[in-house]
C-alpha cells in the first residue's frame, strides 16, 4: 500500500496516433451512411416525404393546386393597360346577365345552370375562386408574417417589452374574431382590400402568441448565446437563429387557418357584408340566391344556384384542412389553437 500517486501510468494515448485516427474519422463510412439514413434527413425533406405517403393530404393538395390554377387562369388579368394573363377558362363572362334563361337547370351549355339574372353559374363559381382562395392565402400570409415578427420581438426581448406587447394581443383576443372582422368591414366598407385588412388584423394575434411561446423555448439554446458571443446583432440572432427553429407550429397553424379565413369571408358575404352583391364570390353568391333555398311556387326548386357555390366552399376548406392535418402530423408539433371558429 502506498499513498504516493502515479505509480501506475496508462500509456498508448499519444497525441500523434489520436490525431491520425481522428482525421480519418469524418471521411469514414459513418458519415456517408448518415445521408441515406432517414432519421437524419433535413426536417423539411422528411416532411415532404411523409406528405407524399399521405393519400388524403395528396388529394387535398391536388384540389388546392387545381383551385389556385383556376384562380389565376379563370379570367384575363390586366394590370394597367397590359394584359398579363390572357387566358380565360370561363365559358361566359361571369358578370354578363342573360347568357341563358333565368334559372336554367344544369345542361351541357350551362353545366351548373344559370341564376336569377340568367348568369352562367359555372363561370361564376370558377371566377369566384379568385376571390375566396386568394383572400385565404393573402390574409394568412399577411397575418402570419406580421404575427411572427411581432411575437418574435416580444418573446426575444422579453421583460416589459413582452408584457406590453402581449397585452395588445390579449385585447385582440378579447373580441370574437368574426365579430371584430365584421365591425371593421362595416366601418371601412366592403371590397377585396378592406376584407383582407380586416381578417389580417384579427388573425395575426394567434400567430404572435404561438411563436412567442416557441421562442421562449428556443432562445434557451446555447447557439443563441453563441451567436451573441460572435457579436451578432439582435436582428440577425432573431431572424437567423431563433425564428427558423421556432416556425414549425406557425406553419401548421397557417395551413389550417386558410380554410377558416375562407369560411369567414363566405360568412360575411352571406350576411351581405364584404363584396358588392353582384360579385361572384362564393359567400356573396349564396346570399344573392338565398331565397331559392326553399321551394318556390309550384314546386320549383332551383337547387343549383346555391349548391354549387356551397360545394366549392366545402371542397376548398376540406382540402386545405386535410393538408393542414397532414403537415401537423409530419411536423409532429402541438398546436395551441387558442382561437375558436371564425377569422
Amino acid at each position: 500500500m502506498s499513498t504516493e500517486r502515479g505509480r501506475i501510468r496508462v500509456s498508448g494515448f499519444e497525441t500523434e496516433r489520436i490525431a491520425d485516427h481522428d482525421a480519418a474519422e469524418p471521411t469514414g463510412d459513418d458519415a456517408e451512411e448518415a445521408e441515406d439514413d432517414p432519421e437524419v434527413q433535413n426536417r423539411w425533406v422528411r416532411v415532404i416525404h411523409q406528405l407524399k405517403r399521405d393519400r388524403l393530404a395528396l388529394t387535398g393538395m391536388a384540389v388546392v393546386v387545381v383551385m389556385l390554377f383556376v384562380a389565376v387562369f379563370s379570367r384575363p388579368i390586366v394590370v394597367g393597360d397590359v394584359t398579363v394573363q390572357p387566358l380565360s377558362l370561363t365559358p361566359y363572362d361571369p358578370a354578363q346577365t342573360g347568357v341563358g334563361d333565368r334559372y336554367d337547370s344544369p345542361s351541357l351549355t350551362h353545366p351548373m345552370g344559370t341564376d336569377r339574372l340568367g348568369r352562367d353559374t359555372f363561370s361564376r363559381v370558377v371566377a369566384g375562386s379568385r376571390y375566396s382562395v386568394t383572400i385565404g392565402f393573402v390574409v394568412t400570409a399577411l397575418a402570419a408574417s406580421f404575427g411572427v415578427i411581432y411575437g418574435g420581438v416580444s418573446g426575444y426581448f422579453g421583460g416589459t417589452t413582452d408584457g406590453v406587447m402581449m397585452r395588445l394581443v390579449d385585447v385582440i383576443f378579447a373580441f370574437p374574431a368574426l365579430v371584430l372582422a365584421m365591425i371593421l368591414v362595416s366601418l371601412f366598407g366592403g371590397g377585396f382590400i378592406p376584407l383582407v385588412g380586416a381578417f389580417a388584423l384579427v388573425g395575426w394575434a394567434s400567430y404572435a402568441r404561438i411563436i412567442r411561446g416557441e421562442i421562449l423555448k428556443v432562445k434557451q439554446n446555447e447557439y443563441v448565446m453563441a451567436a451573441k458571443a460572435l457579436g451578432a446583432r439582435d436582428k440577425s440572432v432573431l431572424f437567423r437563429h431563433i425564428i427558423p427553429n421556432a416556425i414549425a407550429p406557425v406553419v401548421v397553424q397557417a395551413t389550417l387557418s386558410i380554410g377558416t379565413v375562407v369560411i369567414g369571408v363566405a360568412a360575411l358575404g352571406f350576411l351581405g357584408l364584404g363584396f358588392d352583391p353582384g360579385t361572384p364570390e362564393w359567400g356573396t353568391m349564396l346570399d344573392a340566391e338565398r331565397d331559392t333555398l326553399i321551394t318556390g311556387a309550384g314546386g320549383t326548386w332551383f337547387w343549383w344556384t346555391t349548391v354549387f357555390p356551397g360545394m366549392m366552399i366545402f371542397l376548398f376548406v376540406m382540402s386545405i384542412n386535410m393538408v393542414g392535418d397532414a403537415v401537423n402530423d409530419a411536423l409532429d408539433v402541438q398546436v395551441d389553437d387558442v382561437r375558436g371558429g371564425g377569422g
Binding site: E25, E222, M225, A227, L230, A232
Partner: protein, 458 residues
C-alpha cells in the same frame, strides 16, 4: 506544462471584484414587498489572464464557474466590479486598455473579434438549421471580415485546422458526432482570430477518449495562434493537463490561485486539498487519505458568514484560547450547524446519523442527560474528552439544554466557547508567493490561530 508564458507584462484580461447577483424573483408583489432574494453566483472575483497562457477554473457544480466565464465577456451582464481588456494595437504596438463593463453595444460587438467563447454542450451550441460552413462563416459575415470566395477558402482552412474534412462544409450539425461538433464550435471561435477564448467545460459532454483529442487540439491551437484560454472545468485532471495557472472557486469566490505546480503542491487551501484528494488513482494498491467533505454546498442565496468554506472545512480554525484537536472541533462545528437550522430538539439526531435504529433513541428530549450526551458525541464525532475543560463543560451544558428542548440556548452556549475566527472574518487573498494566492485565514498573518509554515514549503 513546462516554462509557461510570460507573465511579466500587462495581463490580457483582468477582473476586479467581479460580481453577478441574480434576483430570485422578478414577481411584482415580491419586489414590491422587497422580499426578493439575491443569488450571489459570482461574488467579488479578481483574476488575471496573461497573453498566451491557460488559466484553469475549477470548482464544484454550481460554484459559479460558468457565470464567471460569461460575465467576464459580458455575455451576461455583471452586476458589479470591472473587467479590463488590454488590446494590442497592431500598428503602434502600444497597449490600449478597454473597460469591458463600460462598452456600448457596438463596441462590445467589436470586442468579440478578440475574445471568444466555446460552449459546454456541443449539441445545443450549434444551430441545427445552418450548415457547418455557415456556422463557421457566421463570424466572418458579422464582422465583415471576408466575402465570397475568400470566405469559402477561410472556412475550409478553419475546418482543416480543427481536424475536420473541409468537404463537409455543406453538411448539417446533426450529421456529426459530439467530438466533431465540438471541433466545429472551436473553428467558429477561431474564425475571428481571437486573443482569448473562454472554454466553458468544452470536454465535459464528451466521452473520455474524445476528451483527450479535443484537449490536444486546444493545446496545438494555442501554440499555433498564441491564444490565451480561460479553461473552465470541474475535472482537476483535465485542468492539470492543460493549464498554466489554476483558479479554484468555491461558492462564487476564489479559494486559491496559482500555477499548476503550486496548486498541486503544498501549501494548500483546505478546499483544494479536498478536491485534489478526490482525483481517482488507477493504482489498486494506492491508499491515499481521501478527504470527504461533510454536508452539501451551502446555498449561494444565503452564503455562510466569514469564510464561505467554514461550514465544511476540515481544517477550520479553533478559537485561540481553546486547546482542542481538529476532528473534535469539526464535530462541534457540525453540531452547531445542525442546531442553527433546527426548530425543535427532537429532530437533532436522525436515523440517518446513527447505525443503531432502536426506536426512540433519536429523540434527545426523551432521554436522560448522560445517554443524550453519549449519543450527541457519538453522532457528531466528538470524543469523550475534548482536551479542554471549558470546552467539555460547554458541550455538556449544551446537551443538558437540548434535553430541556432549548435549542437556541444550547446553540448560544456552544457559540460562546467555540466561535471560530473563520465564521467572523472574511479571508482576503494572501500571497504565498508572487503567483500563488490562497484565500484562507490559516495563511493570514493578521489572523489568530496556528498557521502552517509558509514560504519555503514544498
Amino acid at each position: 506544462m513546462s516554462t509557461g508564458p510570460d507573465r511579466s507584462g500587462d495581463p490580457l484580461l483582468r477582473t476586479e471584484g467581479l460580481q453577478k447577483y441574480y434576483e430570485t424573483s422578478s414577481g411584482f408583489i415580491e419586489s414590491f414587498l422587497n422580499r426578493a432574494d439575491q443569488v450571489k453566483a459570482v461574488d467579488g472575483v479578481d483574476l488575471e489572464v496573461y497573453p498566451g497562457e491557460t488559466l484553469g477554473v475549477v470548482g464544484e457544480s454550481g460554484c459559479g464557474k460558468t457565470t464567471l466565464g460569461r460575465s467576464m465577456l459580458r455575455l451576461i451582464e455583471p452586476t458589479g466590479g470591472s473587467v479590463t481588456y488590454h488590446k494590442r494595437n497592431e500598428e503602434t504596438g502600444e497597449n490600449e486598455t478597454i473597460e469591458i463593463t463600460d462598452l456600448s453595444g457596438s463596441e462590445l460587438r467589436d470586442l468579440r473579434t478578440d475574445v471568444q467563447y466555446i460552449f459546454q454542450d456541443p449539441f445545443s451550441s450549434l444551430n441545427p438549421r445552418l450548415t457547418v460552413g455557415d456556422i463557421v462563416g457566421e463570424p466572418l459575415d458579422i464582422h465583415g471580415i471576408l466575402e465570397g470566395e475568400e470566405r469559402e477558402r477561410r472556412i475550409y482552412e478553419l475546418l482543416e485546422t480543427v481536424g475536420l474534412n473541409p468537404s463537409h462544409a455543406n453538411r448539417y450539425p446533426h450529421e456529426f458526432s459530439g467530438g466533431q461538433r465540438q471541433r466545429i464550435g472551436i473553428a467558429r471561435a477561431l474564425a475571428v482570430d481571437p486573443e482569448l477564448i473562454v472554454c466553458d467545460e468544452p470536454v465535459s459532454a464528451l466521452d473520455v477518449s474524445v476528451q483527450a483529442q479535443i484537449l490536444n487540439l486546444l493545446e496545438d491551437l494555442q501554440e499555433e495562434f498564441d491564444l490565451a484560454y480561460v479553461f473552465i472545468a470541474h475535472d482537476l485532471s483535465v485542468v492539470e493537463h492543460i493549464s498554466d495557472r489554476i483558479a479554484v472557486m468555491y461558492l462564487g469566490e476564489l479559494a486559491e490561485v496559482g500555477t499548476t505546480e503550486e496548486i498541486f503542491a503544498e501549501p494548500y487551501h483546505p478546499y483544494t486539498e479536498a478536491l485534489l484528494s478526490a482525483i481517482p488513482e488507477p493504482d489498486p494498491l494506492w491508499e491515499g487519505n481521501q478527504i470527504f467533505l461533510r454536508g452539501e454546498v451551502p446555498s449561494p442565496m444565503n452564503p455562510p458568514s466569514g469564510c464561505r468554506f467554514h461550514t465544511r472545512c476540515p481544517r477550520v480554525i479553533p478559537p485561540t484560547d481553546l486547546d482542542v484537536d481538529q476532528p473534535a472541533f469539526r464535530g462541534v462545528m457540525d453540531l452547531r450547524l445542525r442546531l442553527s437550522g433546527l426548530e425543535a430538539a427532537d429532530g437533532l439526531v436522525t436515523t440517518a446519523d446513527t447505525d443503531t435504529d432502536a426506536g426512540g433513541v433519536e429523540d434527545v428530549t426523551a432521554m436522560d442527560v448522560e445517554s443524550a450526551e453519549a449519543l450527541v458525541r457519538n453522532t457528531f464525532d466528538i470524543p469523550e474528552w475534548i482536551g479542554d475543560g471549558e470546552a467539555d463543560d460547554a458541550v455538556s451544558d449544551a446537551v443538558r439544554l437540548l434535553v430541556d428542548g432549548e435549542v437556541d440556548a444550547a446553540n448560544d452556549r456552544l457559540e460562546a466557547v467555540f466561535e471560530s475566527p473563520c465564521e467572523t472574518r472574511h479571508p482576503s487573498s494572501n500571497h504565498i508567493r508572487n503567483t500563488h494566492e490562497i484565500a484562507c485565514l490559516r495563511y493570514d498573518a493578521d489572523a489568530p490561530g496556528d498557521r502552517p509554515a509558509v514560504g519555503d514549503a514544498k
